[in-house]
Symmetry: C2
Subunit: 240 residues, 2 copies
Amino acid sequence: MTAKIRLYVDQPLGQGQSVPVTREQAHYLFGVMRLGAGAPVLLFDGQSGEWLAEVEEAGKRGGSLRVGRQVRPMQMPPDLWLIFAPIKKARTDFIVEKATEMGAARIVPVQTEFTNSGRIQRDRLQAHAVEAAEQCGGTFVPEVTDMQRLDRLLDNWNATRRIMFCDEALAGETAGLPAAPGPWAILIGPEGGFSKAERDRLRGMEHAYPVPLGPRILRADTAAVAALTLWQMSLGDWRR
Amino acid sequence: MTAKIRLYVDQPLGQGQSVPVTREQAHYLFGVMRLGAGAPVLLFDGQSGEWLAEVEEAGKRGGSLRVGRQVRPMQMPPDLWLIFAPIKKARTDFIVEKATEMGAARIVPVQTEFTNSGRIQRDRLQAHAVEAAEQCGGTFVPEVTDMQRLDRLLDNWNATRRIMFCDEALAGETAGLPAAPGPWAILIGPEGGFSKAERDRLRGMEHAYPVPLGPRILRADTAAVAALTLWQMSLGDWRR
């Protein structure tokens, strides 16, 4: 019997360890999924791959899992950030989920001149990233950072990290991604587009590459998945 | 002043025509957007490009638009179908929206052996495709077909249409898409995966190509956008 349930735990795992189960996890594992003592569960901690564990103690409000052998090695995603301007709540959740599945290493919400939403709930978004990692079979959970202003982010930009910026104003243009490995960030334009100042600034940055995403105008959430696909195929862990 | 509002109308357009406005459109144009007589609106009919029109008569429950000159030619998407197994309602809506933005010509919901959802609301999905086309600046609206069984669809398959099938069982494998133009279909595996019989059958079809989508397992909606990106970049209208 294969363990199908995968759980992220926020502590470094090792063989023989006993891992306490949170109240929410207990509800899911023992209430919803009805696992009893001895049932297999896969665990990952975001840094040491995947481990086969089994239920040690199943309670209504908690319990514990006993960690067995490591079953998969750690697989780090490429050093790729996804920077985007949060939009409606459901679409923002979606972008975090998709960025995790698509293998972004870090998710950076930014406020641009034309962004309406001034706030995010970082913890909620981080929980979405955890859930997506559990679901997609990855061993890594990308960090969702606090919201920051795009201009300040660019003020402090480390020039060794290249930027692929996707701008609806580019629809139909041709441009390419240089075959440059190393750290990258994908920057998705906000729904209202970048301001002229932002666009000029990005176009003036040495290692920023404008990349069009086809002839139609994509919503920010579509653009995020498409841009991640394009980057992963060209430079990331989808390369053949 | 640029006309920002784009509307799909279900009749062939031509210069000088007067186009009646439906009750819903009247609510949106004259109620929500507060357009008055003379205000510009962009129209497309899915077959003759985009036209600049202006409000002729604005009423609470109706009105009309007068069609002026054609402002953009018709842009057909490539002859690409997206075939997928509907899942939860929100994700199915999302797949239809994304397929439209990404330039699929036809959207085909199928029932596979492991599909749970036996029903779709075709009209509602078609309305989503219209809305997405209005929003993404495209001049084409893909048809959403009725749900059909995958085995019957394959029984009647026209062998000149190649199939790119995306299967979670392929995660991590390497494979390629042949540089073959012409009609294609992308087939996205259902959340529970294809059955062994379905997979064997697809692998045995002459013009079906298994294509992996990276090392993580993607949800069906992510897979749809990623597969469309991959195909459009390789064979479609995103080529440089």
